[in-house]
Symmetry: C2
Subunit: 235 residues, 2 copies
């Protein structure tokens, strides 16, 4: 949508996105055009435009004459989101199995092994999460279908604000890693159907876990937002 020569609306939009993914802005938080305008040193016009775009993308909820808020997903909405995402990722994986270049495949394997190492050496769980994100992203992008990629990543973005809820339950990471094992095996074996089924089940389970965790912890969202979440997620 935006090209070179980013307009101020693009800049503001990106800044707000970052805030949402960083947790500076939590689901349910209100977005006031005036304050944002002041904060970014622009008028309300480009801020409004940015908000409109984010609303269209589903990251923000906007109703006429009411202030925009960062989209809040109740458990059932989260479930739907993950169900749809799992289908999209499954479709992408199916296509990627045949379409990924050797270079893309080796990148994927590389990420996967880095993750394994991180796990073995009990590295930073945040790093592990980032590697997992990259893993999924590489598979999705491997399908070489821009529409499918954009659509999938748009949905993936919508769960990102909830990522910090990710439970680090005992054995969860190992389970994740062995899931990834199965996925990567299917891809390298050229078994597209298996790749689809594996990643679909995997993503669905991730969603299930997250959903249940949130459902069980209905306390104010703010409690779960640690002040220090510095890592920027590349989009």
């Amino acid at each position: 949508m935006m090209d070179r020569d980013p307009t101020q609306a693009d800049t503001v939009r990106f800044a707000i996105e970052s805030d949402i993914f960083n947790g500076q802005l939590a689901p349910g938080d209100a977005l006031e055009e005036g304050r944002l305008a002041a904060r970014f040193g622009v008028s309300r016009t480009p801020v409004r435009e940015a908000i409109t775009q984010l609303a269209q993308a589903g990251l923000i909820t906007k109703r006429a004459h009411r202030r925009a808020v960062v989209a809040e997903l109740d458990p059932s909405a989260l479930l739907e989101l993950f169900e749809a995402l799992s289908e999209l990722e499954g479709a992408a994986a199916f296509l990627s199995t045949a379409r990924m270049s050797p270079n893309e495949k080796s990148k994927l394997m590389n990420i996967h092994e880095q993750a394994a190492t991180n796990l073995r050496k009990q590295g930073d769980p945040n790093d592990y999460a980032d590697l997992g994100f990259a893993f999924h992203q590489l598979i999705v992008r491997g399908c070489h279908n821009k529409v499918l990629i954009d659509t999938t990543e748009l949905l993936a973005l919508r769960v990102l604000p909830y990522r910090r809820f990710q439970v680090v339950a005992p054995g969860r990471l190992q389970r994740n890693q062995s899931d990834h094992d199965a996925i990567i095996s299917a891809i390298f074996a050229g078994d597209a159907a298996a790749a689809r089924d594996q990643i679909q089940r995997h993503t669905l389970e991730q969603g299930d876990a997250l959903m249940r965790f949130i459902a069980l912890n209905k306390t104010s969202h703010a409690d779960f937002y640690p002040a220090s979440l510095t890592k920027e997620h590349s989009l």
Copy 2:
């Protein structure tokens, strides 16, 4: 996104959408904020907002300092779009097989039979096209997953401007109808996997036909836009 109390931007947005789907606005046509504002009797502000939203939805292409144009899809982009759409519809059909209510199923069958009658009696092809659209829509909505439905319909919208290109090649409608036969049979038989495969192949073939037709007729788009296309497509 919009609720009751539609704002002027919503009104304008809807009007532009209609123009695009009616063919008043063809792919490649420029959208001037000033003229649109004058035409709708509002200022440029709500027009800009409407355009921003449509751009985000993919119906319009917008670059900084250049005027917005109705999105143009080259054959390869169309192919990608249909590939993604076929996966989405396939996923929806898979879920719908188990989730459609008896009432929804009977509605679907009803539409299908109306289409059969239209075909047998050589009715208006436009009516047949509308029934086909409704057929797909009912299946998609039958999955009861709002995210998946919205995502799928968003992509379906993006091909709508090209719908008038639809070839009425000999036997094409019969083929379409027998495809639908197979799909509906799978759904009523409760065979989710078959429903998925059938609708996926079907949608992919529709896209292929359209794509090839457009590729073979590279003349100015305007040639293919008959003046009389009065039917409004319900969204």
